[in-house]
Symmetry: C2
Subunit: 150 residues, 2 copies
């Protein structure tokens, strides 16, 4: 099976940008970037990656599937933790190398126990060293949600 | 100059996830992924990349700088089009390889003339070929905003 199936191979720039064919431009690693936002709040929950199979499964099932670069494996969000993502809407960007999904998040998105992976702010107007500012507490115990993680 | 300056080199997983030091985990290409959302609507405007210099300039100036992979060059958003992004807030994710900026977008974010790069929806519940659905019209003339683009 081609790494790109079941999607059409990327065409010209005009095809990619103005066409109605979904023809994702997977990178050399076979992945596109996926941004998941909370459908209610608009907050960015996580940034992850999808290979063709993860993208096809997400489209077919309406639940978020990803490809873990560190584990080299397909992964259904919530399969360990129960913290699934039901996809309310999926968008693709102009050059079809990034996907945005608006999701209903069960539990929290981040393996550290927070609702979003983006729980620290970077103060602006600084040159040199900056100190991150925590903006959200844990809402679940990551050791219970991910008992196999160390 | 190290590619990572002025940032601390990434430490342990615990340091990355629970520390207050900004120590971005730039990829082999020297880049982190950056998601820009509209501070008012929460819509994802674009997904782009930052090298250490783009990230440092964004933090110092409060305006979005990126690194263009296709042009291999640092780039201040809006330098050609006038469609600048003032950063209202910056967040970094758990493992510090992705940045989220909430911005006030002048004009539109997308070089095709739309407010967001994510102007097409992917219908869900489908297996096999899907047709994209356009969700926004052009709000500016890309030929006027980007006269040098072909």
């Amino acid at each position: 099976m081609s790494d790109n199936l079941p999607f059409a191979p990327p065409g010209t720039r005009a095809d990619l940008e103005e066409g109605s064919a979904l023809s994702p431009k997977f990178g050399p690693d076979g992945l596109v970037t996926c941004v998941a936002t909370d459908a209610a709040s608009g907050d960015v929950l996580m940034v992850a990656h999808m290979n063709a199979e993860a993208l096809a499964k997400t489209i077919a099932t309406g639940h978020a599937w990803y490809f873990s670069r560190s584990r080299g494996a397909l992964w259904r969000k919530g399969e360990t933790s129960g913290h699934t993502q039901r996809v309310v809407e999926m968008r693709i960007d102009c050059d079809q190398d990034a996907v945005w999904i608006r999701v209903e998040q069960q539990g929290g998105a981040c393996h550290t126990g927070r609702p979003s992976c983006f729980y620290r702010a970077v103060p602006l107007g600084k040159a040199g060293t900056v100190s991150l500012e925590f903006r959200s507490d844990r809402t679940f115990d990551p050791k219970k949600a991910y008992p196999e993680a160390t």
